[in-house]
Each structure stands twice: as C-alpha cells, then as structure tokens.
Symmetry: C2
C-alpha cells in the first residue's frame, strides 16, 4: 500500500468543515463577542444538541461559562473575509461589533444576538460541558433555528446553488462548495 504515516496533527484530515460564528454576551450583557469556530457540530437529534469545542485559554471560553447560552451564525461565502477577521483579534482587547461594524439580529429564545448577515442562525442553551484534552466541549440544546427565506429545500438541505457556505480547510485557507457536483443518492440506516 502506498500510504505513509503522518503525525496526528501534521495533516488537517478532517477538513473542510463549515465555519460557524459563535456569539456570546459578556457578564454585563453590554458587549456581545463573536468568534469563528470550525470544531463544532451536531451531537443528537432528540433533543437537538450541538457541540462547540473551545480552548480554555480563550476569552470566549470564559464568556461561555458565565453566559450559559450562545448563538450560532452561518454566513454566506461573500462574507468569508469578515468571518476570518473575527478570528484575528480577541474579544478581550477589542469590541468586535464596533471594530467590524457588525449588524446584529435579536434572538427570540436566548438573549445573545446573532449576526444579521447570517443565512441561518441557531439559539442554544448550554446543557452540559466536558473536558476533552486541551478543549472544552460546550453542549448546547438548540432552542430555535432562524433562517432566511428559501435558503433550505423542502427536504431540509441547503440550496447551495443559491447560498454558498463558508468552509474552513485548516491553516489560513477557506473555500466553498461546487453546486454543480450535487448528486442525489440512496441513503438509509446502518
């Protein structure tokens, strides 16, 4: 076999992944912070749970512990530079809403806002958290999903021909999907 061994960590083999923007209030609910996260994804359907992995070293980690809730914003491909920029500064030092002139949308179920540029957003309440190595997995129960009109097909899938998502490839690389490759194939349970 023509395989060679790599150190785990030497290859971003689990990318590309959608990059979502996690929104959290500070303790006084004066300033909302927004951070792009690629290590995030669904954990269960019933109840609907979504996990976000965050390093304890970050400002966002401290905010999440205090707030106990977070929003998720998924931005279209044309906003990729904004999404990347949100990861270049810390909310400890910078009010990102002011610095990047972020337009906010009000949540209905939680208090933290989401980004008005999002094509879809979710409102989550932290139900538990677990320490895994150098990261904390914050498990959020999805209480509401807010979507722009006609972004999802009747079967619930993203209409990628109309709305291209931001995918993160690792390091400092980003890309989106090729809607022309979309195929429909049989699917079932294991």
């Amino acid at each position: 076999m023509d395989f060679k061994s790599l150190q785990p960590g030497a290859a971003y083999f689990y990318y590309p992944r959608p990059l979502c923007v996690v929104g959290v209030w500070d303790s006084k609910r004066e300033r909302a912070n927004f951070v792009p996260v690629a290590w995030a994804g669904p954990l269960a359907s019933r109840p609907p749970l979504f996990g976000v992995s965050i390093s304890p070293k970050t400002h966002s980690h401290q905010l999440l512990l205090q707030a106990g809730e977070f929003s998720l914003s998924f931005l279209p491909w044309q906003d990729v530079e904004l999404v990347a920029k949100l990861g270049t500064v810390s909310g400890r030092d910078v009010d990102k809403v002011a610095a990047f002139a972020l337009e906010l949308a009000e949540s209905e179920v939680i208090t933290a806002p989401f980004l008005a540029n999002a094509y879809v957003a979710a409102e989550c309440k932290v139900s538990e958290r677990h320490s895994f190595g150098d990261q904390t997995l914050f498990v959020g129960e999805i209480l509401r999903v807010a979507a722009r009109d006609a972004v999802f097909a009747p079967d619930g899938t993203l209409r990628v021909e109309a709305m291209a998502p931001v995918l993160y490839l690792g390091a400092n690389r980003y890309l989106t999907v090729d809607a022309k490759t979309l195929v429909t194939l049989p699917v079932a349970e294991d």
Copy 2:
C-alpha cells in the same frame, strides 16, 4: 429582520460536512464493518481526539462497544456512490466487504482495517464515551494518520485541486468543493 423560525431538525443547517467511513471489527475479528458517518469531528489537539456520534440502535454501536477501536477512512469524490451505498445496508445483515468488494488496508497500531481507496485514514482507540440525547459520542484517541503521498500541502491542508473530498449535505444529497474558490486569509487565536 427577514428571518423565519424553523423547528430544530427541519433544516440541516450544520451541513455540508465531510463524510468519513468508520471501520470496526466484529467480536471474533472475522468481519470488519464499514459505515459512513457525518456526525464526526475533532475534539482536541493534545492529545489528538476525534469524536464519532452513533445511534445506540445501530449495529455499529454494538461493534464499537465491543471493539474499543475504530478506523476512519476518507474517500475521494469519485467514490461517492460507494460511500453512500455503505449506509444503505446494515452490517447486521450483510457482509459489506464481500457485498461491495471492498479492498482493505492493514492498520499499524489498531487491528481494524481501513479502506484501501482512502486518501487519508486514521487509527483510533476509544478513550471514553458519552451519551448525548439519542446518540453516543465515542471519543477516539488518534494513534496514527496514514495518507497517500502528496495529498496534503506543507501547511497540512488538503490539496483540494488534486483530491476532492466527499461532503454530505443532508437527506440523500452529496457534493464536493470548488477548488477554484480557495482563498488564503489571516487567521489567529480568539
């Protein structure tokens, strides 16, 4: 704001995601089972941990509990039909290796094989598991990554112009990336 509320579960807002194929031995190590999983991803860097969410109703769940280890195979876009087919039958009823004429590659650190068609594979030992709603998160420590030559760039990112990954969009839809959209942007810590 022109957002409308959707039931969580009505929209696959967290897709597309890479579809990996999880490989596990049966208890007698006579038959390896392979199942495509989209609810899977990295959980930590130190140590390198990778989580796989599996329903307790599935055959794979039972196998994972017994085996305590699993392989991950990432197949190229030209194998999308094979990857989808692996999800249409249960290893309870069918020997997928025989039924789909799967070519296997030997692991070096664990005993479960991976798929020889993979462009990258990982060998994982289950270090813990957690029950989240209707799913179990199996946390695997990544002990080895095996990659085909030149699949990853020096910065560790997938060379998407040469190797297009299989992405799952939800329902029965699959697609891949558009390598022409690849951009390099600043990135830093929160």
